[in-house]
Amino acid sequence: MGHKIFAYLDERIRISSLMGFLLNEPIPGGSRWAYIPGSMVFFVLILQFVTGMMLAFYYGGTPDHAWDSVNYIDHLTYNGVAVGRLIRGIHYWGSSIMVIAVGIHLLQVFLWGAYKRPREIMWLVGVLLLALTMTASFSGYLLPWDERAYWGTIVGTNMIGLVPFVGEVIKDAIRGGVGLGALTLSHFFTLHTMILPTLFILFVLLHMVIFRRVGPAGPFSGSPEKLEATKDTFYPRQVLMDSFGMLAIFIVILALAVLRPPELESVANPSNAAYSPTPAWYFDWIFELLKLIRPEIVGVVGLPVLIAIVLVFLPFVDRKPVRSPFRRPISVLSTLFVLSAMLGLSIMAENGYKKLVDVDRVAMVRGQGVFNTAGCIGCHTLFGKGGKVGPDLSEEGLVGHSEHWLTVQFLNSKAHFPDSIMPDFTYLTPQQQHDLAMYISSLGRMGWPDPTKTP
């Protein structure tokens, strides 16, 4: 049967020669594990395409529905499995892992010297794909329309606005107006789900066509005769290695999606000026670096321009044919320097952020019981209900108080606020204190009402 179908297709669309072309690509020096990062990036990109399409199935791209629809996705279950959270988790972690995979791929190409003649154009297309990846992360960040998304995008687009002469115009064009609103969201949604995927398909294809035209660079050492003698075809050994690489990265993404599902902070609140946004982790180092460069404008404009110049002109400036990293000490050392600087800056940035408490969801649910029985709602407002004597706690989890701070607040609030009229809840057991702290830490971050259960 399969044979017949194959024969039928072969006669009409010449499938065997196509397969032969795709699979019998010669790899000088044979298959290697070192060649798998490119395939891994490609795989994650496809994963992002598939899960992204799935998210768009239920997403509502306007400010009055975006958050609700993401919350709805988070609550979608099928036969008791939280499929919605899983799909969103894959997409969420997939974007982080894709940035890492692209970084590894770029680093490997750089260290292998594989960007050198005749592969300069392929490198340029790769740099463009890196830019697309970053733009995709940035534009996807806004779509859930929660506090983090809103304020992160405010800051990100404000930075664009700092560019001399054209910045304001570009910023307003991106936002679709002076402020962040419905048009910003639909602009970002269109960019994220229509423009970028189209460009991705186009340039990934170009990247691969060039790759097949110019052939793989192969190892950086070994005589041409030896490479020729140990030449292997792409299928099956390299394909198998690639597929193991894809499986590994898939398992990592899946595990992250299950173990650390993405959070959804409370819906974007343009009047919550107290919110301090943090960038996605891969922009941490830029965030930290920008704090060091003064005046600000130099960093905001200079840094991206510098990165772009280095990446774009690298293969045209560095024209020595030597590829081995062992004979390119300057390149390797400067790479190490840049990497460690990025790492150091990222750590500094992370340490500078207010750490939100890691919420234990079981304790959180118990804590909600404590909250209700202890009568907190008599003084505090929660999601529009409750007393007005104490502060509104609807987004208290985003403030970043530690568990210890919260416990002290429950037992002896005068320690923090001498004028506080809050009673001392000294009768709470340590267990209850912990549970209540977990619940308070979750406010504004999780535990949203389930829209799939209609009253």
Partner: protein, 310 residues
Amino acid sequence: MDKEVTYRVGIPVMGPRGETLGRLEKVLLTESRHLVTGLIVRALESLHILPLDRVTEVSASEIRTTVLPEEFHGFPVFDPTQYEEVPPWFFPPGHHIELGALVTIKPLDVREQGEHEAMSRRAFMGRSVAIVAAAIGVSLLVPIGGYIMAAATTPMKDSWRELGVKLQDLPFDEPVGHSFRAVSVSGWMRVPEEKSVWLIRHSGASDPASEPEDQVLGLDSPLELKDSDPRLTVLSPICPHLGCEPQWHKGQKLFICPCHHSIYQLNGNRIGGPAPRPMDTLPARIADDGAISVIYEQFAIGIAAKKRLA
């Protein structure tokens, strides 16, 4: 799959005395065994198959053979329509000058491990690739299937809604179309909506019209059976044929659907037209003070069974 695959090459093919026989057009090889079986040589407009054992020497610029020009035309003519004609741009550059290909066209493993061993290893690797691909595919497609079905199968909670009408205010045996405001839920969206039902008051169990036809036929679910009352029939406004709305015709005392003329009696009994079942009754409760509440159910249209939608 002993199909022959051809690769385009393109250098002069010489006879023993150095005279040009033609240009190398393709290399014929058996795909599964990676064995070159012959050369295709183009001489003017005809293509000839030259067996590989007549080739004596291959260099980067030419191929030498033991074939004399006069015997050359005796070799079988290659029929291009029988083989792949792959456009030259389809091949990566360098492929056609890779003359070593004639010697090293066998992949590394085939050369090192021998034909048989290598082939079974390749088959094993091929199967492993298929298994890994299937593992990824299944563990991605199963959640996606669930994700797509999740919204479709989200159960609807039965909610009783008070209509704001009292039983004692209704006329006997005369359907009253009653509209009320409801909320329709679609995923994350809640939209206020106008719904309507037919309310028909009966004098009691002795009234022949008081037993709805779908109850007679045993189409009702336990919910509808439990919440039925001989004093009142609540009918869905939706025609079970294709979903139009039957209208009450006072003179004839019949519901008639404007779309395809299904005709129903007061108790929903179908007496004519294409509808597959009687009009659908809805569960109803009457409070002590006569206040009526209903569950607005919807049913599949076009089938004989009264099948509730989600």
